[in-house]
């Protein structure tokens, strides 16, 4: 088991730099999820940790060892690929045993480790099968098994669940979490799926355009996003953003509605800003309300079973409200309110979170 330290790593392909100065400290035994949109450089970071890509600058340490120039096989890591990368001409047993044979483990030891992994992953009866004779979920398990038998200090996962259907994905997610709990090994997991990030991670690293936007626990990331990007990326449905003018006594939206914000201390030189609010934090009422409430038309409703999403617009901006079930009347209009304590304020210029003190 080991910690992983990234110090100012950069990666360039030719003249284009795709990863800029990424630094992070992952502690021993943590489940790290690196999340970001496709093409943001998250997989490149993982591949640099694995040693499949050279770093263009900076240092990578695994344990207390600088691994920049170590071969992948010498880094004491194991990696699970998105397409599983199973050896098609070898049966399940040999797929798992191949790496151990190359490491010159004894036959008895190999047999022991493979059987152990097969039992853990319920692959016992499939050991003699070829990968093409297995279902997607089983192949996924074999890929995990191949990583497990190596007893690595760090597990690396490159979008391992994205080829599975939704139900299986959920199931594997739970099993992965269990596996981490049992093994206690450091795991670094790359995904574009914010649900996987929220559910699996001890620590989330949000990456955008080759830069780290924020590192924090799922709660921190959700409740205190450092930027509009993070706020919009994490959470489903995403946070609503409304451009607003700040003037004495409130925030006026584009349609002229004023959110009362007397007790918020927004820097007085900030005129323009973006107001953010999570869909579930917007209050909704069927009944006509007075000051502080805004009358809206509901364009349509999405039923999720456990709740529903209401879509409306404020000026040109779409607004999503998330509501519990209960009132099944056909809603076409209503009144909404933005509670001051649920608001986030972002810079109009760069999308960074504006520090606001409530008095």
């Amino acid at each position: 088991m080991a910690e992983v330290i990234l110090e100012n790593i950069t990666k360039s392909f030719g003249k284009t730099e795709v990863v800029h100065n990424v630094s992070a400290h992952f502690h021993d035994g943590e489940f790290i999820v690196i999340v970001g949109p496709s093409g943001c450089g998250k997989s490149t970071v993982l591949r640099m940790i694995a040693g499949l890509e050279e770093v263009s600058g900076g240092n990578i340490k695994i344990g207390d060892k600088l691994v920049n120039n170590l071969e992948p096989k010498d880094r004491r890591i194991a990696m699970v690929f998105q397409n599983y990368a199973l050896y098609p001409h070898m049966n399940v047993y040999n797929n798992m045993a191949y790496g151990l044979r190359l490491q010159k483990h004894s036959k008895v030891e190999i047999e022991r480790r493979v059987q152990e992994a097969a039992q853990l992953l319920q692959l016992g009866e499939y050991l003699q099968r070829r990968p093409r004779q297995l279902s997607g979920g089983q192949r996924q398990r074999v890929a995990m098994g191949r990583a497990l038998v190596r007893k690595p200090e760090v597990f690396l996962f490159d979008e391992p669940l994205s080829n599975l259907d939704a139900k299986l994905r959920h199931q594997m997610r739970v099993e992965l979490k269990k596996m981490h709990k049992n093994l206690g090994t450091t795991m670094i997991y790359v995904t574009h799926d914010q649900v996987e990030a929220m559910t699996l991670a001890d620590k989330i690293v949000v990456v955008n355009k080759g830069r780290i936007e924020q590192i924090g626990s799922p709660d921190e990331i959700y409740n205190a996003p450092a930027s509009m990007f993070v706020a919009g990326f994490i959470g489903c449905p995403p946070m609503n953003f409304l451009p607003a003018q700040h003037s004495n006594g409130g925030l006026s939206l584009e349609n002229g509605f004023i959110i009362p914000a007397k007790d918020l201390l927004i820097p007085s030189d900030t005129r323009q800003l973006i107001v953010g609010i999570r869909p579930e934090k917007i209050e909704f009422s069927h009944l006509q309300r007075e000051s502080g409430w805004l009358e809206v038309d509901i364009d349509f409703i999405e039923k999720l079973g456990s709740g529903k999403l209401l879509y409306t617009t404020i000026g040109p901006q779409q607004l999503i409200l998330s509501m519990a079930n209960g009132d099944d009347r056909h809603i076409t209009r209503g009144w909404i309110r933005f509670p001051a304590e649920a608001l986030y304020f972002f810079s109009h210029q760069d999308g960074s979170l504006l520090k606001v003190k409530s008095s």
Partner: protein, 274 residues
């Protein structure tokens, strides 16, 4: 409607039938002539069926061409094996171990495919002489191996492009190096590629004549040259070269009859995603 289809079908088959006859005419001529007595072979009766079957033509021709056949087998098997194995290694490097400049080298390789082999005949002759390889089979084998590399490298590179990179990376994580990845992973997965490439090379090299006659001395002549010698001269008994031609065509013919389906499958491999 129905009759229209029938006319169409009939005309298709009629056209195809005529073409088949055209294509088979030389084969018919070869078989018929081979089976005639030398005395019965005259120009006016050349299309006629033989009066009596003269099977002795084959044994006679075989006795005369035997050394050439042996030479051809040695030449073709060695050169095919050499160019296929080296081409596979080249393709492996060009597709999975790209290095700075590998694309340029690959492009240069491709140029080699477009060089007509007649053009390089004289420089090749001089080179082999300078290497002291002129006249014997080893020189011809070497020439065919080198000349075959562009096409074999290309076939294997395209074949290996279908093997996902993550498979190679996975093996590297498992601790496999350049050669163990090749031997344990890439080679077993490329058997269809080997079938296609070696069939191609076998046919090309077996049938090649110009280099064979220019670069080998009499005792080392392969079958194509042997046949030409048999057909040359003043009074030719035509049954012998014809019987010889049939025997010379047999190995390639058999290969296509028995391995043809692998050839088609290999050429199509990977065109459809599994």
């Amino acid at each position: 409607m129905k009759s229209k289809v029938n006319i169409k079908t009939v005309s298709y088959y009629a056209t195809l039938g005529i073409l088949v006859i055209f294509f088979l005419m030389p084969a018919y001529m070869a078989v018929v002539t081979a089976l005639k007595q030398p005395g019965d072979i005259t120009l006016p009766t050349s299309w006629d069926l033989p009066a009596t079957l003269n099977w002795a033509s084959f044994s006679e021709a075989f006795a005369m061409l035997r050394p050439n056949l042996v030479n051809s087998f040695i030449l073709t098997i060695c050169a095919t094996a050499g160019s296929t194995i080296l081409g596979s290694l080249n393709g492996y490097v060009f597709s999975k171990w790209k290095f700075k400049g590998s694309e340029i080298i690959f492009t240069l390789f491709l140029f080699g495919m477009f060089i007509p082999y007649q053009v390089i005949l004289i420089p090749l002759f001089q080179t082999l002489r300078a290497m002291n390889l002129y006249g014997g089979l080893p020189g011809l084998i070497l020439a065919h191996i080198v000349y075959g590399l562009p096409i074999t490298s290309l076939i294997f590179r395209n074949f290996y492009a279908q093997i996902p990179d993550s498979l190679i990376e996975s093996a590297r994580l498992d601790g496999a190096g350049f050669f163990s990845v090749y031997l344990k992973l890439v080679f077993p997965l490329s058997i269809p590629g080997f079938v296609v490439t070696s069939l191609w090379q076998f046919t090309q090299i077996w049938n090649e004549f110009l280099w064979a006659i220019t670069l080998t001395r009499h005792s080392e002549n392969p079958i194509t040259v042997g046949l030409a010698n048999l057909a040359g001269g003043q009074a030719v008994s035509w049954n012998l070269p014809m019987a010889g031609s049939i025997m010379a065509a047999l190995p390639v013919l058999c290969i296509y009859i028995f391995l043809g389906r692998y050839f088609i499958r290999g050429l199509l491999a990977g065109s459809v995603k599994e």
